[in-house]
């Protein structure tokens, strides 16, 4: 399993990466929106060889009893065996569930989607926003790729027409109303291997790391979600340093999200 651990450790102690990157350098990030005609919003994100497709679909449903005037946001990840020999068919794995929930919290907790504006009739009808993340090729760092795709797809999503008399959504007729977006949360995931911390792991690196820390930031000052993963540990000092580093790295990534 951990055959490459000494190799990567050796490189990292010299502040080097296998592909020549610096420790806190991302691979090339490309975001393309609107690729899926049938989706209400969509994005295709490439980080190096990692590719993720995210689609947003809107529907109308009943609100949760504890928030009768708010729309509903649901984030889901489908790790199809299409994208990696490590994925398997069947119900969502723990990794898929964690991936979706970490991305979900970054968006939800920052109130990136103004759910209060998605109420049609209190207690009865609200918009439901489904964000589905489909990795197409997993070469590591699905967290950051998925999160970028999710916010880019949401940012460009358009509401379909809702027929109030018939009480149904006309999925084929789009309005000119955009989904109300008020923040652009960016997820930055750090990896740790033998005490060395770096970003944007390739699959080869990802399989050897001890721990991972994902941090969603909305600006220089504010963090909206964090999650540690993997069996390794972080110190309190590292966490604070990485929170600041996350905000710094997010600034560049945020510029790639389409402004309209």
């Amino acid at each position: 399993m951990a055959i490459l651990k000494p190799y990567f450790t050796d490189l990292l102690t010299k502040d080097k990466r296998e592909d020549g990157r610096k420790l806190f350098e991302y691979r090339d990030v490309v975001i393309e929106t609107g690729a899926i005609e049938r989706a209400n919003g969509s994005a295709r994100v490439k980080i190096g060889n990692t590719e993720v497709l995210v689609g947003v679909k809107l529907d109308v449903g009943t609100p949760f009893p504890d928030s009768p005037e708010s729309g509903i946001l649901m984030v889901n990840a489908e790790l199809l065996p299409l994208a990696s020999p490590h994925f398997e068919f069947g119900p969502p794995s723990k990794d898929a569930v964690e991936l979706a929930r970490v991305i979900d919290r970054g968006i939800r907790e920052s109130h990136a989607v103004d759910l209060d504006k998605l109420c049609i009739k209190p207690k009865e009808k609200v918009w439901m926003v489904f964000v589905d993340i489909y990795p197409i090729n997993d070469d590591g760092n699905l967290f950051d790729a998925g999160a970028l795709g999710a916010i880019a797809a949401l940012k460009t999503a358009i509401l379909p027409k809702y027929d109030e008399d018939e009480e149904k959504v006309l999925h084929k007729e789009l309005t000119k109303t955009k989904l109300p977006i008020q923040q652009i949360p960016i997820l930055t995931t750090f990896a740790k291997l033998n005490g060395k911390i770096f970003v944007d792991t390739t699959m080869r690196e990802e399989k050897e790391i001890d721990a991972r820390l994902s941090i969603a930031t909305i600006d220089d000052e504010t963090t909206s979600a964090m999650q540690k993963g993997g069996v390794g540990t972080f110190t309190a000092k590292e966490i604070l340093e990485l929170t600041e580093k996350a905000a710094e790295l997010a600034k560049k990534l945020r510029k790639l999200i389409p402004s309209k």
Partner: protein, 246 residues
């Protein structure tokens, strides 16, 4: 969010929280060890209104075999909530929330266990919340920590866990239900007290870097107290056993 139903007007009145605690005050934690005779190790942890029972089975044969790891133990960590543990009935069985919590708890416990000593075998940790009033994952980690020790699993350290967060604009330790539901942020943390290494960190809500620092400090301090409580509970169990055998 402003539109949440049932939100109290204030979560802090005259500097005190709705349950009478100070901001940096933890709810009372009670730890009982050896509550399930069938298990190799077991415990029950009460944190205010939150109650979790935990049993540890193992090291034992890995089933199904596909989970077998020849280099380290397979840690099968299952977190669940009893259907009657919450105000509204929860459907029994796993769901997305419990799946994720089981995973992060396994990640929080693994650094404490000499995993390589149990290569090729499985350690099963089952945590069931029987009464929920916020802080269930942190209570479950404390329960699992002592249950693992009770099962005689070789460990580097115990694992102590507590949440802190922000409600009504104030930073506070160990949120209870109202503060968790209607507060601004929640940050569960687990630590190996001897080395101060953080093994679990989650956060949702909006916090500045300065606030994250304050909450980390607050939780780390509380974990030192939890460390004493866990050790005391373990000592008490084995002292009683010794007395009985004499």
């Amino acid at each position: 969010m402003g539109s949440k139903v049932g939100a109290p007007e204030k979560l802090i009145v005259n500097g005190k929280r709705l349950d009478g605690r100070k901001l940096n005050e933890m709810r009372k934690m009670d730890i009982k060890i050896g509550v399930i005779p069938n298990a190799d190790g077991s415990s029950m942890v009460t944190l205010g209104g939150t109650k979790v029972i935990c049993s540890v089975y193992g090291p034992k044969e890995v089933l199904p075999r596909r989970n077998l790891d020849t280099e380290q133990a397979f840690l099968n960590c299952v977190y669940g909530m009893a259907s009657f543990s919450t105000p509204e009935r929860v459907r029994p069985g796993p769901n997305r929330r419990s799946t994720e919590i089981g995973k992060v708890i396994a990640d929080a416990l693994a650094p404490a266990i000499f995993m390589e000593k149990y290569a090729g075998s499985e350690i099963t940790i089952i945590m069931e919340v029987i009464n929920a009033n916020a802080g269930t994952r942190t209570a479950a980690i404390n329960a699992a920590s002592v249950a693992l020790a009770d099962a005689g699993i070789e460990m580097r350290d115990l694992v102590c866990s507590i949440a802190s967060g922000k409600a009504d604009g104030q930073l506070m330790l160990d949120l209870f239900e109202a503060e968790d539901n209607f507060g601004e942020a929640d940050m569960p943390l687990a630590v190996l007290p001897r080395t101060k290494e953080i093994t679990l960190l989650q956060m949702d809500g909006m916090l500045s870097t300065a606030e994250i620092k304050k909450l980390t400090d607050m939780s780390m301090k509380a974990c030192e107290e939890l460390y004493k409580l866990q050790k005391k509970a373990l000592q008490e169990k084995y002292e009683t056993e010794k007395d009985a055998s004499e």
